[in-house]
Amino acid sequence: MATTANGLAVLEGQVSDEEKPGFKTGNHAGQVRTCDTTGLPVCLTAQRFIRLNAVAAVVFLLVGGVAALLLALTRWPTVHLLPADWYYRVLTAHGLNMLILWIIFMEIAILYFAGTTLLNSRLASKGTAWVAFGLMVAGALAINGAVWSGKADVMMTSYVPLQAHWSFYLGIILFAVGALIAVINFLATLYIAKRDKTYAGSVPLVVFGATAAAIIAVVTLLHGAVVMIPTFLWSLGLTEAPDAAWYRLVWWGLGHQSQQINVCAMVSVWYLLGTLTVGAKPLNQAVCRGAFVLYILFINLASAHHLLVDPGVGAGWKIWNTSYAMYLAVLASMIHGFTVPASVEVAMRKKGHDKGLFGWLFAAPWKNPGFSAFFLSLVIFGFLGGITGVTLGTQQINIIAHNTLRIPGHFHTTVVGGTSLAFMGLAYYVVPLIFQKEYPAKALARLQPFVFAGGITLMAIAMSFAGSYGVPRRHWDINFTGAQFAAGFDSTAHLMMGLVGIGGTIAFTGLLIFLLLTVAAVFFGRSNAGKKMEAW
């Protein structure tokens, strides 16, 4: 039976202050500051690790970004910049630095933020956070060392029996273990917040989404261990090579599910940015949360779409896994694709922007890069990414798309135009609020999301067209100079490859603006400590 502060029993049906949803007494033991802009409590330990992980993320984004430019300029037929061996080496580096290092460091920063600030809690363990960060950095350095020294020209998928130096696999294992420890630290933070009653009520939606991402991350990283440890032992010469088809199956249990972590994290960031930029409010919490649960339940099975033209897995298995299972995960994205823009619309209409069907959208704060990055990410992911993804996951269509450029065309609209762009939008708030530094050259920052989104969209569409003419991905010379038999592609395909180069260069420009401004802000930006952040 609950009682009020002065000891009176609470009448039935009435909610005591203690039970009312919201913040209660924090557990920070003094290690906390109040955000000058939002009034939210910021745990100082968490703040340090959010900063560290975000800085690491941006460093690897820079490495991956330079690689991206080199790749775009190599696949542009009239430029054809890199020699063959360096093209494959840089391609390996690009995939790993971007898809693994940039994205996952950023996600750990997001988890630390969601678990502490939004729940009024401290980070569960500072020591553990150091261990996690140390392992992740060590792993990232080992991976990059192996790749750039030419000991691991195996692509990020490293399909056995193609073999890299053992330090490459060790790097991946170290990084994954570090990430797993960080995720456990986040889950432990959820636990102590609950135990210490730092809040009452159900956790905020963003925390719920982040938790879904964390749960999928645990399952994913376990797949990673199952496939990487035997491969590591084999690279040391201790065991036989793992079966090549088994490797592909389990590797995609890792590779595909990790994309679902990215989707969960991205959708959480959409909700977060919707709130920060226009004050958007989820319309129906139950619907939004239900959609996150669908991700957790159904995504593993959808990994099958990577093996649609593989030997060894039968037609029944392919049909089953690409039909019901995939569509239940797709359903979740369809739901978020409705609820996120709807929440923005409602918020904008409430502010009086009520003209016509789309008046609210035109009146939206497009000058705020946090908003434009968020909304462009939503559109690119929802339309281009969603449609291409569902198409490619069809058993028959996959026959004409497998390993062609249609595949990178697809995922540069999901994980780049979607997730990475949303994370950039987030940075436009993380730097002022967590680093307490103002962005310089705000006009340039306002332009940045449009440049990046435009370039990536052009490149991805051009890749998709080139791929539908049969142009392979991961391929240095589509004219097959010196090949035993003549092969090649017609002039339209070459034109498309030119557009890949142009779009890629524009996207790189957008990326570079982001990197320069962010580095300038973090290291040389005006401090806004004690003040509200400047409005975008």
Binding site: M155, Y159, K281, V309
Partner: protein, 175 residues
């Protein structure tokens, strides 16, 4: 707000607009789910994944026997092989060549066995653009019926080392 604690009683049924959208989305998912088996049985091009475990050495021997039996010529140090319609046909992939050159008859059905001697390779038939994975240790069987005469190239579209982009083979389809 998505960053604050929802009011008590947040667990409620979707509103009319949401119900409509979710209903449409579910209906669409059901249509596509049923389309998957439908396309499989109605469609003319499927990847059934028929495959058998085989060591590279064993596969190589079968392919060699096949080449010796039906060899009709040579092109750029590669045997041209013309198997009788309806039979088993072998194609080996290795860094960085496809072996042999196949001469097939239009509108005849063959069982094409594709196997790898070393790494993963990608069987990518151009310009028709049909793509299948070739995994070492597996005999991947593709039942195929060429429907148009002409010369086709097989390019490799799975990364297989630094000579990957020079890996191209040939299939000839005759009237």
């Amino acid at each position: 707000m998505s960053i604050s604690f929802p009011e008590q009683g947040w667990f409620k049924a979707p509103s009319a607009g949401e119900r409509l959208w979710i209903g449409l989305a579910i209906a669409w998912c059901i249509v596509l789910t049923l389309a998957m088996p439908y396309w499989h049985f109605k469609g003319k091009q499927n990847s059934t994944g028929e495959a058998y475990r085989v060591t590279p050495a064993e596969f190589y021997q079968r392919a060699q026997k096949f080449i010796e039996a039906y060899k009709v010529g040579e092109d750029r140090y590669t045997a041209i092989v013309q198997p009788p319609p309806g039979t088993d046909v072998y194609l080996t992939a290795r860094m960085w060549r496809w072996d042999p050159v196949l001469k097939l008859k239009k509108d005849q059905t063959y069982r094409l066995h594709v196997g790898s001697m070393d790494l993963n390779h990608g069987f990518s038939l151009q310009p028709v653009n049909m793509n299948f994975q070739v995994v070492p240790g597996y005999d991947h069987v593709l039942t195929l019926t060429p429907t148009r005469a002409g010369e086709y190239s097989i390019v490799c579209n799975e990364f297989c080392g630094v000579g990957h982009h020079t890996m191209a083979g040939k299939i000839i389809v005759e009237e």
